[in-house]
């Protein structure tokens, strides 16, 4: 699957960058379908006796998944072009799938703690050209999002990021249902 943000230069000075590109691929629903395909193939290879069962289950899952994707595409249409501030670059695949625009990140570089100069620059840019929403994951500090939200009056919302991240994100379907619902509720 095509990776996003593959670095041209890999250097620790850039923070926690992954040489093979941004690894948080699961937030583009189309990638989940690709993973299901490859996983089925591999399971069939490892356990040919049960090949039919794996294929049947995969096709049931993929039918449900494709139906869900077309539903999500309709629901997320309103998010197209919406500028968003992230805490860490872990939402890039979702942002790209939904056609949103990443307008900034609270971390100066992936994995590095925020610095005053970077925050001052971000706050100024958001006052001139405000994003519509600030997003963060359950494992990011909500205080960072509150900090920016309070200074710029841009609403912030926690997204599940992965299965189990919120009450509603009980499985992969819930993950995307909840992510889209939370964004739609915040971006009025």
């Amino acid at each position: 699957m095509p990776k996003l943000e593959i670095p041209k230069v890999v250097d620790r000075a850039l923070g926690d960058v992954h040489p093979s590109g941004n690894p948080h691929v699961h937030l583009d629903p189309r990638n989940i379908a690709k993973v299901a395909d490859v996983l089925t193939e591999r399971l069939v290879q490892l356990d040919p006796a049960n090949a039919e069962a794996y294929k049947a289950r995969a096709s049931v899952f993929l039918d449900r998944w494709r139906a869900a994707i077309s539903r999500w595409e309709k629901e997320a249409a309103r998010l197209k072009g919406v500028p968003v501030v992230v805490y860490h670059k872990d939402m890039s695949y979702f942002i790209s799938w939904a056609g949103m625009r990443e307008a900034g990140s609270l971390e100066p570089k992936p994995g590095l703690p925020p610095t005053p100069a970077h925050l001052a620059d971000l706050v100024e840019r958001m006052k001139r050209d405000p994003a519509k929403v600030i997003v963060y994951s359950p494992y990011n500090s909500p205080r960072a999002a509150e900090f920016l939200s309070e200074r710029t009056k841009i609403p912030s919302v926690m997204l599940p990021f992965t299965v189990g991240g919120t009450e509603r994100a009980k499985d992969l379907f819930g993950l995307f249902d909840d992510t889209i619902a939370r964004l739609l509720a915040t971006v009025k």
Binding site: T115, A117, A120, Y139, S141
Partner: protein
């Protein structure tokens, strides 16, 4: 980057938070150093953290007053226990404090074993992020610290051992959540340490180390674009070393 209005807007709340913490920690730190129990804040803060995690474990609202009460009760419980151990086994008090710290850390790890967010909560409690302080909470912090200072300087010797540990427990619980454990430890120990051999105007000199440390650290973190908390610790140590040597030369001449 220079100190323009935008960066000033980022730095001033952090500086006020630093002043608030300095106000209480300098006198407490001098006492902690005199008693030879400098790691007591690590132990008490760690136990307060266990209180927060326990509250989370029991499903209490993370931002509510219940969590503050849990943290404070845990810290005070720990403080009372340390009062008792200091009276009972004074020779090994520092060792007991060390054991309380690792025990607290280990209990925290066990409680967090099944909590996906817990690790981050704990890390934030320890490392903190002084830039996120919310100015609208300053009045509450200032009120708590004012009471602590009034009791500290008002009662003096009459506070006794129990009074000291109770005030210490309350203060550390509040400040750890404000600026994180590294800054709490630095603010407690560095100013007090830098005036340990100084004879005159010790409080004034120690307070200056704290205030200058926060100011220089925040400005340096702006100019060098580096994380503020760690920069403040380094700046405070630099100012402290300077004051310690200038102070010694002045008193020996």
């Amino acid at each position: 980057m220079s100190l323009d209005a935008a960066s000033f807007g980022i730095l001033w709340p952090a500086f006020i938070a630093g002043l608030l913490v300095t106000a209480t920690h300098v006198p407490l730190g001098m006492q902690v150093l005199a008693r030879g129990i400098v790691f007591v804040d690590l132990a008490v803060a760690q136990i307060a953290g266990v209180g927060v995690i326990l509250a989370d474990y029991l499903g209490w609202e993370p931002t509510g007053a219940a969590v503050q009460i849990a943290a404070l009760s845990a810290a005070l419980g720990c403080a009372m226990m340390l009062t008792w151990t200091e009276r009972r086994w004074p020779e090994v008090q520092e060792a007991i404090i060390g054991v309380v710290f690792v025990l607290g850390s280990s209990i925290a790890i066990l409680l967090l074993a099944h909590n996906p967010r817990g690790g981050e909560n704990l890390k934030e409690l320890l490392i903190g992020q002084i830039l996120w302080v919310n100015p609208s909470h300053f009045l509450i912090y200032a009120a708590v610290y004012a009471v602590v200072l009034a009791l500290w300087f008002g009662m003096g010797e009459k506070l006794g051992r129990i009074g000291f540990y109770i005030l210490f427990g309350c203060t550390v619980t509040v400040s750890v959540q404000l600026v994180g454990l590294y800054l709490v430890f630095a603010t407690l120990v560095v100013p007090a340490l830098s005036v340990f051999y100084t004879k005159s105007r010790r409080h004034l000199k120690a307070y200056s180390v704290g205030v200058l440390g926060y100011a220089a650290g925040l400005l340096a973190s702006l100019w060098l674009d580096l994380p503020s908390g760690a920069m403040i610790v380094c700046a405070m140590v630099a100012v402290g070393v300077l004051v310690a040597f200038v102070g010694r030369r002045a008193s020996s001449s």
